[in-house]
């Protein structure tokens, strides 16, 4: 029995949902979060120890390698009962197990791509595909970068048919908003028929 005091239910606890914004180093994750968030992105950190699975106390922490990973996130209050969080997730694949936690229960992910460095977002695409987390690819058109058609991006990164690819400018609120809408619509197509509402 988990101690959740639902008997004190005069207290209204809002529901929350998450969307992840992923992609390689410097692809515009924080910029996208900032453009739609109602608050300037906040940051928090997670401590990762090498033996971070199954550690119940940190006695002897000196012997372990610890890394601090910074996450930034924004917030969109949809109603007093529903809040959406956007988490910018670090791109390096050694942080995969943190992505696992972030992806759990998430609506899905927007994987940002910088066409000048396509390969830096490959790990993110691979991750969400494997975990069957709904995702879309948003091509962030940096100034001076060559323009690619979605089909060229799709074949270059071996992105499955059915995964939407959109153009984006992470600095523009409307553009980021459209990417969010695209992702949510895509996630809705992934709900199994007859699943509970």
């Amino acid at each position: 029995m988990v101690s959740v005091h639902s008997n004190q239910s005069s207290t209204v606890v809002p529901e929350s949902v998450k969307i992840l914004v992923a992609g390689g180093f410097g692809v515009g994750k924080t910029t996208l979060v900032a453009s739609v968030s109602e608050i300037p992105p906040l940051s928090t950190e997670e401590l990762l120890t090498e033996a971070s699975t199954g550690v119940d106390d940190l006695a002897g922490i000196e012997g372990k390698t610890t890394t601090t990973v910074a996450l930034d996130f924004g917030r969109i209050t949809i109603s007093p009962r529903l809040v959406l969080y956007l988490f910018g997730t670090p791109g390096q694949d050694r942080f995969w197990f943190m992505w696992d936690e972030l992806a759990r229960g998430a609506i899905g992910a927007i994987v940002l791509i910088d066409t000048r460095r396509l390969d830096t977002s490959f790990a993110a695409i691979d991750f969400f595909e494997r975990r069957e987390v709904p995702f879309i690819v948003a091509v962030n058109n940096f100034d001076g970068s060559h323009h690619y058609e979605p089909d060229e991006i799709r074949s270059a990164l071996a992105i499955k048919e059915g995964v939407p690819i959109v153009n984006a400018d992470a600095r523009q609120r409307d553009s980021s908003k459209l990417a969010l809408i695209k992702l949510i619509e895509h996630a809705m197509t992934k709900i199994p028929e007859g699943a509970p509402a």
Binding site: V4, S9, V13, E15, L42, E45, D56, L71, F87, A187
Partner: protein, 123 residues
């Protein structure tokens, strides 16, 4: 002193030692299902709360308005793993409420997604 030990001491001793003293050395919250987005709300109380630390008092103060685990970690300025322990203790004490764990880890259903979609479209 340019060896690994010194490096560990400089870089990690501050942020590590203090938080773990704060949680009695534990890194595992009882409520390990607490998610970064889980909303935490303080249960109003007229009696003075005793037996909790300053960080937990701060959490109770800020959560009169619902905040996520991640926001709390940011404002209290401790790593997520630490804030989860602090919040988990407050849940056990009945000082804060969260939604039941079954709802925390489930992918959102159609109705919820529709509500999010409508909300984002209206931004």
């Amino acid at each position: 002193m340019a060896d690994n030990d010194a490096e560990w001491f400089d870089e990690a001793a501050g942020p590590l030692v203090r938080p773990y003293a704060m949680t009695g050395g534990r890194t595992r919250p009882g409520a390990s299902w607490l998610d970064v987005a889980t909303q935490v709300v303080t249960v109003p109380s007229t009696v003075e709360r005793v037996g909790i630390g300053p960080e937990q008092h701060a959490i109770l103060e800020m959560c009169h308005r619902a905040l996520s685990v991640a926001e709390i970690a940011h404002y209290v300025n401790v790593p997520l793993v630490v804030v989860k322990v602090l919040i988990s203790d407050l849940i056990d004490r009945g000082d804060v409420v969260v939604r039941p764990p079954a709802q925390a880890l489930r992918a959102p259903g159609r109705e919820l997604l529709q509500a999010v979609l409508d909300g984002v479209r209206a931004l």
